[in-house]
Symmetry: none
Subunit: 358 residues, 4 copies
Amino acid sequence: MSSQQVVLHEFDPKDMPFRRLGPSGLRVPVFSLGGWLTLGGSVVGDPVKDIIKTAFDAGINMFDTAEAYAAGKSELEMGRVIKELGLRRTDLVITTKLFWGLRKGPNDSGLSRKHIIEGTQESLARLGVDYVDVIFAHRSDNTVSMEETVRAFNYIIEKGWAFYWATSEWSAREIEEAFHVANKLNLMGPIAEQCQHNMFHRERPEKEYDPLYRKYGLGTTTWSSLASGLLTGKYNDGIPEGSRFATTAMFKSTVESLQKEEGLEKIRKVKELTKLAADELQTTPAALALAWVAKNPNTSTVILGATSPEQLTENLKALEVLPRLTDEIMEKIEAILDNKPPPPTNYGRPPLDRLGRL
Amino acid sequence: MSSQQVVLHEFDPKDMPFRRLGPSGLRVPVFSLGGWLTLGGSVVGDPVKDIIKTAFDAGINMFDTAEAYAAGKSELEMGRVIKELGLRRTDLVITTKLFWGLRKGPNDSGLSRKHIIEGTQESLARLGVDYVDVIFAHRSDNTVSMEETVRAFNYIIEKGWAFYWATSEWSAREIEEAFHVANKLNLMGPIAEQCQHNMFHRERPEKEYDPLYRKYGLGTTTWSSLASGLLTGKYNDGIPEGSRFATTAMFKSTVESLQKEEGLEKIRKVKELTKLAADELQTTPAALALAWVAKNPNTSTVILGATSPEQLTENLKALEVLPRLTDEIMEKIEAILDNKPPPPTNYGRPPLDRLGRL
Amino acid sequence: MSSQQVVLHEFDPKDMPFRRLGPSGLRVPVFSLGGWLTLGGSVVGDPVKDIIKTAFDAGINMFDTAEAYAAGKSELEMGRVIKELGLRRTDLVITTKLFWGLRKGPNDSGLSRKHIIEGTQESLARLGVDYVDVIFAHRSDNTVSMEETVRAFNYIIEKGWAFYWATSEWSAREIEEAFHVANKLNLMGPIAEQCQHNMFHRERPEKEYDPLYRKYGLGTTTWSSLASGLLTGKYNDGIPEGSRFATTAMFKSTVESLQKEEGLEKIRKVKELTKLAADELQTTPAALALAWVAKNPNTSTVILGATSPEQLTENLKALEVLPRLTDEIMEKIEAILDNKPPPPTNYGRPPLDRLGRL
Amino acid sequence: MSSQQVVLHEFDPKDMPFRRLGPSGLRVPVFSLGGWLTLGGSVVGDPVKDIIKTAFDAGINMFDTAEAYAAGKSELEMGRVIKELGLRRTDLVITTKLFWGLRKGPNDSGLSRKHIIEGTQESLARLGVDYVDVIFAHRSDNTVSMEETVRAFNYIIEKGWAFYWATSEWSAREIEEAFHVANKLNLMGPIAEQCQHNMFHRERPEKEYDPLYRKYGLGTTTWSSLASGLLTGKYNDGIPEGSRFATTAMFKSTVESLQKEEGLEKIRKVKELTKLAADELQTTPAALALAWVAKNPNTSTVILGATSPEQLTENLKALEVLPRLTDEIMEKIEAILDNKPPPPTNYGRPPLDRLGRL
């Protein structure tokens, strides 16, 4: 993006709260926009522009994509729209993710030095920018040494192609190893983990990663915060025709699970949450579910997906819900969910008044 | 203290809450007992034993002293009483401090390798123990390189003469440098700072040290939490005959300041705190002042001084006050004190929703 | 600035003394020219050219600015004039400072990697040069880890966009931490601190930073050496109409303080200095005040502000005063000021004949 | 030296000035007492006790010896006297030097790990102490790797057998290498160099070592400050019968040189210094020569030799001369000596107003 860019649109953060992304100095909006499944995929052309413009005007300046989203078309569409809207590069936080390249050759995916460097250059070209703010390893790669991966991401940063790197869906052990290797080599470690986090998916983000938050200040950029829509309540009375669950092969097993004991239990909880949202917060279960993730002290940003400007605006009601999640409300939610991961055991020792930080 | 020691007294922590001492694994009671001015000084003989026994029976197993306290007699008395009471060494957390040796020679004080090593051996001999738990640098020494001091304290630890080392009344820059040097040399840094902290002395412990709590998990062992008695309310109506302020030369300037504008303002605040303590907490201003320091999330232990078992028991009422210091009460206290150190400036930038840890 | 530049003006250092900038090999003139409030702000167009030409012809080849000065116009004006005057890049020492960017977005200010890299590129574009000699962190940023900031400034240096980096108005603890981190990562630490230093503002530059001069050879580039004009004596008989104090909102609190006890005391001292300057040095109080800062052994360069070539020439009389500041005169000045920061306490130990360096 | 030692003699530093020994925190008297040639050699028995007692009572608490001095007898005598006088160990700074062991076997000398460790233990046994304050490498050993030597001296320190280590008569390059190796291995470097320094021997201590003073704060403990007696003026009119020069084989070449041009020139200068001392300082040339070395800012302590208490007392008159060495007197001395080592060249560049520290 050259310095001669024509800026048509000034950024106004409005009432959007901003948080640091993990230990970094980068400030990200509490809600950001992701391109998974939608932008460049189920949504193309002008609607993409409408959604991004709506987001930007609502104070969302962070846009997340990946080389694998819609086989590169997500990056292409996002880059095109940013240019057409005349957004200033410095106003934006652009993040992308690498792992599954667009071709099927033996070196077209994973976290080898070759794919990280080649893939980043291709992503930048599709996005039409000189650099992204954060580049994520979209998955871990157990066929590459951690040293090679950490070195390659630091190469990307030294080249000026990204300011930071991060992980997505890595285990706590893998992230620990990344910090170990980065520290040993005096290189930069990851600043965040892009993980699934919602009311039905809590073990990893709330318990497994806990030591990483405390020791390294790891941030999270969460996805699937509506549990593929389950938490919106739209499956409360069965799976509607034309819905994502009804039409997308990817969700077959999810749909099947909903017919089983565990699934029925979830639906029951969503109904209770729907009532709580209506009675006590005058809001939708979706807005409640999104605000609930944002409320978590380790969440940096909740990535929203949207197939229309209206859906985005609807979900951004979570911003109003967020400050209303008092301790009392949070306790009622826990009572409904009944799935809070237990804290680490103290092995019978006398409790500490205060643990302090490690 | 040989391993054949006869143990007459078992330790029972009772309801005493324990905290980690900074980043260390050492657990210290929220209230501990210090020998400054009292034990071995204004109090000698059997009363020392009574005070220490009372403390131990109340769940206080940490005893703090210094080579300089009563010119070595504090260590001697403390060591004698521990032996006479038959306390088990492992039950105890014994801490002492080095800086001012007992003689006036050019190498008898400060933080040179020579005085740290020679002074520690003399302290252990006076205490009659093989090791202390923590050895503090009683002040900083700007005539010795930080490297020499950090190396010497690590030597003490490697010799088995102490488990940890710590600082007292050092500036944030000096503590930062200690971590720098320790880190560079792969040696141990300090685990705590023994600092003055009370309702009228807040700038350093609450603001200057703040980055050290966040970055290194530094603990504090606080002294003068009653502001030399001012916060007990006993000077509310003038300085009683025979009181410490009336009789001790060291407090001359403190006494003088009480007659000035600033001092009168403090007395006025103590009166308000006295009323708040009585009306809302049914306790004494002293217990409130002590609990207030203990409530601070960065306080590891509040060191109590005592001239009699009764005074100690009286002050330990702070333990009951501690859980009653709700957000509401804390706000009322702040309103009275009106001296909360301001947070670091943000230089006019948009605020962050959540700062996170660095 | 391309290598084909047409050089119209050769640099002649004349009698200007040069000093190393802290531990670096960069030589800076004892007096340099700064753009704060003036160049691009209260002074625009041809007068800027006249001032810079006058400075250059007087042996001043160091020009200091900041992205925040006049919202970027200071850099623009300075860059334009340097080009128009045909000054050779290698003859110049150009310094700028980063912190407050020109826009108000969440990532447009501070010391995050994003703003340091984006901001530097924008500053270079406004200045029209390929690199500056030193880039300063205009303030500290407690919302960014020191590691991120140190790494980002080293990135700037590795890119060839600056030769050195430095700090401005950081606390001693923060500078200490910067050296710690730089040392740990084998990166470059800061070479100087741009700090306020004048006869009425001494504690930080003369006492707080002292260990940094001794340990790291830190240099200083001082500002406000005339205490916003107070030391010129022009406010000795009240605040003249049209003066900066009378017309600039920024100085409201300064003006108010002049009416109070502390301010009247300062005016009294300025009057005595005015007499000393006239009687014993046949010079102005302004020249005396500037020479006094330059005389400090830790001062690298005194940054002068000027609204006209005449004012600059007038202030450069300090050059003649500098060698006449004998020990005797310096003692007389101290007697008038009566505000010399005390040396660090020795805690009652026997004095050392000679301290040596640590 | 056990802790049950009987202390008969309290140390009183009187008017003796103390200095830090190089970068260390150890404080040493400006004049110290050495055993070379005298104690245990030309002087044995009670006179040794008289000399040491005279020194101690005059504020000298540092005693320097070496395993090689009088083949171990110097250490034996010094140890015996310290015990007999009942001096407290912590009051003393005891230094010894290792290189030439007492036997002639292939491993009985030099700076191998074997001789450093075995030799130190034997020195401590002769001295009858648990540790010395500083252990010197009496010469450099070009048949041993610097790493082995540095590691071995650090082993001595970690064992508690010495607090610091130092060098004697090493070249600047060798000392530089010692710092390099110590730094690389995170070990302790030397704190001082025991070097010859007097009015006729200046090149090495004043020029060759200069960067080591500035970079590492290296201290010096100087010997031969009277140029083997030449500077006392006693050879001004020829070599008296019975004098050291007349009777000691070791000084044969010195004596011969005095008959040559260079020697006669020295005698001429000593005569001028004798006149200066008498006329302007009312003192002896010896006291002047000693004070002149002590005046050097890089001198830590001047080691005095003495064959009688009276000689020591006589030479300690240098203490009174020291503060009278004004800039003016120092310039007159330089004019007489005419042998000041020139400063490092600047290769024709414009001079710096102030060099700053590296």
